[in-house]
Each structure stands twice: as C-alpha cells, then as structure tokens.
C-alpha cells in the first residue's frame, strides 16, 4: 500500500508508506550457510545471530528447509526470508522451459511473432523422458549436431554429458511397454536434452560463461535489481568439438574445473565483468557491446516475466538469483540456467570482495533497517532494472541498440563505485529524516 507520491510517474519500489515502518532495535538473523554470508551478517551493525529455535526477523535459508517448513511457518509483517516458495518454476530446468514456452506462445498471440522472438534466448530443450518423441523429431531434423543432457535438479556440473547419437540416451527412451514390465522399471532421473551451442564465443581459444546476479524483491508487481559486478568463468582447456567426452572442455562451472588436471588454484579462471566488457569493447566497438548487454537485460526481464504469474509472490520473500549466460560467436547471449542458490563461497580475494559487496548491497535493498524511501533507483552496486515496468536511466541516454529492447537502468560490467554511492545515499537519507516534508 503506497501513498501518493508527488511525482505520479515514478512508483516507489515497494516499501510500505503511509504507516511508518518500525525501526527495530536489533535484527535477529538466522542462516545455515557459512562463508561470506556469515561474515557479512555478523558485520552488519545491529544484527544478531539467533541459534536453534529462537525467533528470527531474517532468515537466509537453504531450499530444503524452505520446502519442508515454509508452509507452516508464521511470519510477522516485517520478517524476510531469502527464497520464494516455488522458485523452482524458474530454477529447475524443465519447469523453466515449460514456463518460457507458454509465455512465448502468449506473447505471440498478444503481440505477434516479432515480439515472441525476443524469447528465443533459450536453446531448444526437451524434457526427458516425457518429451522423448518430440526430441527425436527435432533430433532427426538436425543430423550431426551436438546435444547436451543435464539433470534437472543437480548443480555444479554433476551428471552432465554431451551426445550426438540417439543410442547414448537409450535410458530415457519412453517406451510403450506392457504393464507387466512397468512394475519393474526403476524410474529414471528427470533430465533435459538441450541443443548444445557449438559456436561459443572464445577468448584465447577458451570457452566461458557469464555469471550475473539478479535480485528479485517481488513478483507481483515485478521488481528486480541487477548487480553491476559479475564474472566470466573460463574453461581450463581449449575449445574443440572433437572431444565431447572431455567434460573439462565444455563445462565452465568452477566446481568441475577444479577437478581438471590442468587446474591451478592460483589461476581461478575468472575475469571480472568489467574486464570482459572492456575486452569486447576494444575488439568490437562500444555499439556492439551495448547491443549485447541490452540483449542480456532482455533475457533477465523476459525470464522473470514468464514465471511472474506462477510464482507465489509472498511479501516476505526476496531472492538473489545467479544467471548463467553463454555468448556465441555472433555475440548473441543464451540463457543456460538460473540458480536460486548461487555459490557464495569465495575462490580468491577478488571473489571474496565481490561476494561480500553483493551480499551487503542485497541486505541494503531488503532494508530491514527501514532506511530507504522506496524511490531509489540505485543502491550500492544494484541498479533497479524493472519496477512493474521499465526503469529509465536518469540522464535519458538514448537507446543505442535501436533494437526495440527495453532501455533499462542497468550498468552490467560498468564501474561500480558502490562505497561512494552508499555514503551519499545514506547521508541524504539521514538528512531527509531530520527535515520531514
């Protein structure tokens, strides 16, 4: 419930106005995760850890707890929890595909083919075994291409393999067997078969993917923030299609890379997005880079829109997603997957700083301390990307891409002078409090 703002055009980003938000003396937090999150929570002034069964105001939970307890946990108005009840609509590969396909159809009906084509950022995917026959149809239409099989629910690159022949995936063949046999069938784990992108953009002959962080504060209406920092994760070995059995070449997940014989821990195999953006700019020029990043904005927004009506938008929930994006040689970005629990462990000093800053700024946006006015378009390294509609850039810079993409207030891979911005922000908030208008 929001009171009318003077500027009718700009909506606040969801903080209740009208009644004053309570300033709490201390905020009791709970989490099961260790590493960077623990450091950030402990360092936050006024935040106290609550153990075992104590009452909490803030819980950074893991998804299994959520699954078991969310439905029978009562939460006060001010309480916040770090996941949406049915986030898997976005983060499980098979659900995400379904939702995206449905959304695309809807867009085509409402706005035409061109608009619907903007959802074509997801490589053709089929759920196995239930869509096996549809898959075979597509497989036969494109002989010789490579496909990738991914388990629906596992992470860190586990269980993934590439294939080119149908016989490699016989286990997922949906048979019509006689009912006698079916009793003895061991149910096969749910996988998706996805078209493998054979022409990834390479740097130094190596494949990489991008990890980008998106913070969603609510789905109805949709409010999402984009973090300026992120990184490119490189595969340790040179890319070639000859060795599809070599897991290390194709999977850029750091967890898999760590077990590669070539892996040297000092290397880390990561580039900060700023470096990546500059590399591209010097190679392809600023316009091409703007177009690429604008296409990525499109991916974030459309993917969230596709699950908007399905996800239970509880006001207590927020979620920090880790998006995995792959760029191909035509500088087209593809969505690989969305993670509800992106890794918060730091692999290097630089990584530690990135993740602690990310988490600090997440907590600033969640704003348990009730300091924000709700009209902010930037908090630290987060830029407000979508607020029930596109958020324009303050300086009104024109849309360079000319692609008809949303011109959002995003600065992915740009300078992140978050400390300075936070200082200015909080100083002005202090000032505003003293002189109430």
């Amino acid at each position: 419930m929001m009171s009318r703002q003077k500027n009718q055009n700009y909506k606040g980003h969801g903080l209740p106005k009208g009644k004053e938000r309570e300033q709490r003396a201390s905020i009791r937090f709970k989490t099961t995760l260790m590493n960077t999150l623990m450091d950030v929570l402990h360092h936050r002034p006024g935040w106290v850890e609550v153990k075992d069964e104590g009452e909490w105001d803030f819980y950074w939970c893991d998804v299994s707890w959520l699954r078991e307890n969310f439905d029978h946990t009562y939460m006060d108005e001010h309480v916040r929890i770090s996941h949406f009840r049915n986030h898997y609509e976005l983060t499980r590969k098979n659900y995400m595909v379904k939702n995206l396909k449905r959304f695309r159809k809807q867009l085509e009906r409402e706005a035409g083919k061109l608009e619907a084509a903007k959802c074509d950022f997801f490589p053709k995917t089929f759920e196995m075994p239930c869509e096996y026959h549809l898959f075979v149809e597509e497989f036969r239409k494109n002989p010789g291409i490579t496909w990738i099989m991914k388990p629906v629910a596992r992470s860190q690159g586990k269980g993934i393999f590439l294939f080119r022949r149908l016989k490699d995936i016989m286990d997922w063949k949906k048979d019509t067997r006689s009912s006698d046999d079916q009793k003895d069938d061991i149910p096969v784990e749910s996988y998706v078969a996805q078209r493998y992108i054979e022409n990834p953009y390479l740097i130094g002959g190596r494949k990489f993917d991008l990890r980008v962080y998106v913070l969603v504060m609510s789905y109805m209406p949709l409010r999402a923030w984009l973090y300026r920092d992120g990184f490119a994760r490189f595969s340790n070995t040179r890319f070639t299609l000859n060795s599809i059995d070599d897991q290390y070449v194709h999977l850029t997940n750091v967890a898999v890379q760590k077990t590669s014989p070539d892996y040297h821990p000092k290397k880390g195999c990561k580039w900060m997005l700023q470096r990546f953006r500059q590399y591209l700019a010097s190679k392809h020029g600023p316009e091409a880079v703007e177009t690429l990043f604008s296409d990525m904005d499109n991916i974030f927004i459309r993917s969230l829109q596709s699950v908007q009506k399905v996800i239970i938008s509880d006001k207590h929930c927020f979620e920090l997603y880790g998006y995995d994006i792959l760029i191909d040689q035509d500088l087209k970005p593809w969505l690989l997957e969305v993670n509800a629990s992106p890794s918060l462990t730091a692999s290097s000093q630089e990584d530690y700083e990135l993740k602690t800053s990310l988490l600090e700024d997440t907590l600033h946006v969640v704003d348990m301390e009730a300091r924000l006015t709700g009209r902010e378009k930037r908090v630290g390294g987060f830029d407000l990307m979508w607020n029930d509609g596109p958020v324009s850039r303050e300086d009104g810079a024109h849309d360079l891409s000319g692609m008809g993409n949303f011109v959002t207030n995003t600065h992915l891979g740009c300078v992140n002078d978050r400390k300075k911005q936070l200082r200015q922000l909080f100083r002005s908030l202090q000032g505003q409090k003293k002189t109430p208008n």
Partner: protein
Amino acid sequence: MLQEESDLALIIAQIVQKLKGSNLYTQLERQAWASLQRPEIKLESLKEDIKEFFKISGWEKKLQNAVYSELSVFPLPSHPAAPPEHLKEPLVYMRKAQGSWERRILKSLNSMCTELSIPLARKRPVGEQKELLNKWNEMGTDEPDLSLFRPVYAPKDFLEVLINLRNPNYENGDSHSFRTHLGLIQVPLKVKDIPELKEFFVELGLTAGQLGVDDSTQVPPELFENEHVRIGQKVLSEQDSAAAQQYIRQGSPTALRAELWALILNISSQPEDILYYEQLKTNVIQHDLLVDSLIYKDVKLTASNDDYYFVFEDYLYQVLLCFSRDTSVLGHFAYSSASPPKSYIRGKLGLEEYAVFYPPNGVIPFHGFSMYVAPLCFLYHEPSKLYQIFREMYVRFFFRLHSISSHPSGIVSLCLLFETLLQTYLPQLFYHLREIGAQPLRISFKWMVRAFSGYLATDQLLLLWDRILGYNSLEILAVLAAAVFAFRAVNLMEVTSLAAAEAVLADLSTLKVMPLLQIFLFATVT
C-alpha cells in the same frame, strides 16, 4: 647554422639510405611507374605531377609516416666520424659494463646447457614437427618437464649490476658528504627535474582533458570524452603517424587503441609481413632452441598465473617462440648498447666464419619477459599482427629496460630519475625508508623493468602505455613509480622494515595512473 644544416643533411641521407632498402620504396617505385598511365601526368612536368599524384593517393602520407617512424627510433645526430660504438652507447664505462654483464649471462646460459646436456639448438625429428604443428594453437597444454631449467636471470640480479656501476672519471672524494647520492644508483647521469618534466609532459597538465581522468563516471562525456573520440576517429582516417602520436598523449579511447598503436608504430599488415611470420613459424617447427624452454618456463611462471593474462597463454608462445628466431631484430643492436651473444658451431670455437648469434634474434629472455607481450593480447588477436606490434614495441622501447646505457629512457636513467624525484620532493620519506633498510629502488625496480605489466590493472596499464607511445619515452615509468610512493607515503612512513614496505606496495591493482601522475607532477607544492 651551418652545423645544424650539415647535421640535418646527414640525418636525411641516413634515412633515405635506410628507406631505400625497405618495401615501401619498392611500392613507391611501382606506383610511380604505374602512374605514367594516368592522363594527368605530363612529360613536361613529370616530377611535380608524380608528387601531386602521391599526395592525393595517400602514398605521401605513408612515406611521411615511415620517415617519422625512422626519426622516432633514430639516435641523435652524431659526428660523421664517430665510430658505430658511439651510436650504441657514447660512454665507455657503460659499454664496458654492458659487455661484462652480457658475458655473465652467456656464461650462465652455457653452463645450464652443459649441466643439462641439452644442445643450444637441434633440428626436430619429423614426427615431432608434425606434432608441434598440430598443437600450434594450444601449446599451453604441453607440460614439459621444466623443473631443471632456471631463468637465466631475474630483475633483481640486474639491479645488483646497476648498483655497482661507477664512472671512473667521476671522483667525489672518499668521504660521504651531503652531496653523495643517497640512493642506490651512483652514476652522474642527467635526469629531468619536475619543472622540466612538467614541460615535457605538458599535455598531462591539469588544464588539459585526459582519458583516465576525464572519462570517469561523474564527468559528463560532452565535456571532453565525446570530442576526444571524434578527433581520434579523424586522426585514424587521415592515417597520420605524427598526429596520432600527439593525440594519444591524452589517452586513447578503448575502441580506437589497437588501430592507433599500429599507426604510431607504423605497422600495417601487408601480405609480406604475414608471410614473414609464417616463415618464422616454420623455423619454430623445424628447430628446437634451448631458449624455448626458458620461454615456456617464464610464461608458466608469470603470465599463466596472472588472473587476467592466463587466457592468452597460447598467444604468448606463438609470439615469443617466433621472436627468438627473428633475425631482423638484430637491426636494433645498431642503436642499443647491447650486442647479440655469439656462439660457435661445435668444435670451431673462436673461428669467426663459424660464429652464429644465439638465439637468432640476439635477445636472451629473463624472468618476466613474457609480460611485455601479455597486455598486447588484449588489443590484437591475429597472431602475425600481434607479433609485429610486439616486435616494434621491443625494438623501440622494451630493450632499453634491460640493457645498461646512458640513454634518457634507459633503465639506469629511469632508476636515477626515480631516486632523484623521491629524494628531492619526498626527502623525509626517502630518508626514513633508507634508514629502515628499504631503499625505494629495491621495490620499484621490478615495476619499471616490466613497464608495470602485471602490477597495474589492464585498463590502467594500457593508459600508461598510451603515454609511452605518445611521448616516445619511458621516463613516465619513473615518474609513476615516484607518484605511487608519494600516494602511499603516509603508510610508508609507519613501516619499520623492508618486508613491511613491500607489503604496503604489494598491490597496485586499484591505482588509477593518470590522477596519480597529475597530482605528482602538477599539483604537488615543490
């Protein structure tokens, strides 16, 4: 006046001689012959018409760029009767020191060779050649056993040599007077002071726009950046080397940098250049050199461990292995104080007919050498172009960072410049560090020898190298080193050991070079 004129005539004669042997000359000749077909060329005014044709078609510009390139690299005019050693290095004691340093390096290389019983060079068997050719784009995957190889020398070994340099003609008495230089370098070379540096680097002043300062997020691009980019595009379309060099003093926009550097260094990828590179590649395939192992080791130890350069590992091998075999690099020894090491065919020691330069390009790599190439991989992706750019950067600038000479951009002068700046403008800091046994040069030497590669963030490094090209001088490295010390002076005043001082200065990756330089040169009260 007469002396100047004859100097000029001498320079012109030398340049003409140089260019006559170049590819450009052949092309101009060919163009001139072809132009006779054109209607506007008339027999009566042949000379003027051809000149006009060259001007319009852009060939004059190419010639201009070539002349400008020669002038940039050319040593200062010398007396026509001066022997060639003077062109390399006018001071005898410097030549002698360089000579003895070279003998030490060669001895070290030869003894490694004998110890490990590896020949300096050998022809590869056909099977090995095929294998290498297949692996050419991913030589980094090779994990040869390099544990027995050591780098021939590291920067700190070189520093010890420089510390012991003495001018035998300079006698300042046995007693340490106040005038005795408090730093490590004890030779009396002339270096610029801040007023002279201010004049030299006038375009870096506070009233001029800079990339690296005035393109930050708070500054609206209309104030400087947009116009600067526009001028950059114009310079590129005019293809004028001299203009590009002047322009880049204020920094290069990211998108234009690769072309601008190529223009300033007068590199254009002609088919002959690509062929030449392929020829070098063939040499690598056919013969294995001992220095190859040194290169492998260096890349594995330095660039491969760097968060930003590890990606380019393969390019580094492709460039450096070819570089070792490139005999055209020998040309730079005419104006370098160094001389290429000579080796003799087995059994023919001392016989000049059987002497060869080893390695073929005369340059023995040291620990960190591959870091000269790594930043260039950000700009150039085509191996032969990357190679050409690196080679030109080496023969214009980098060679001065590891040879003993009196040249103002030579490492000795840079060290002295650094120490003098620090001593003169931050005397308290200098004295304090000296007292705790942390001579500043011991920390900053490695930065300067590597031209800060691997120490600064890549975008900052490229902004710094823009200015090296723009001013055709390495002195900015010494100024930056002093500026870094000035910036961290407060913390440095609190340390009590060399290790602690090293720790304060260990991480330069967050520094912004242009503001540091501006503050040090133009905003500090002197």
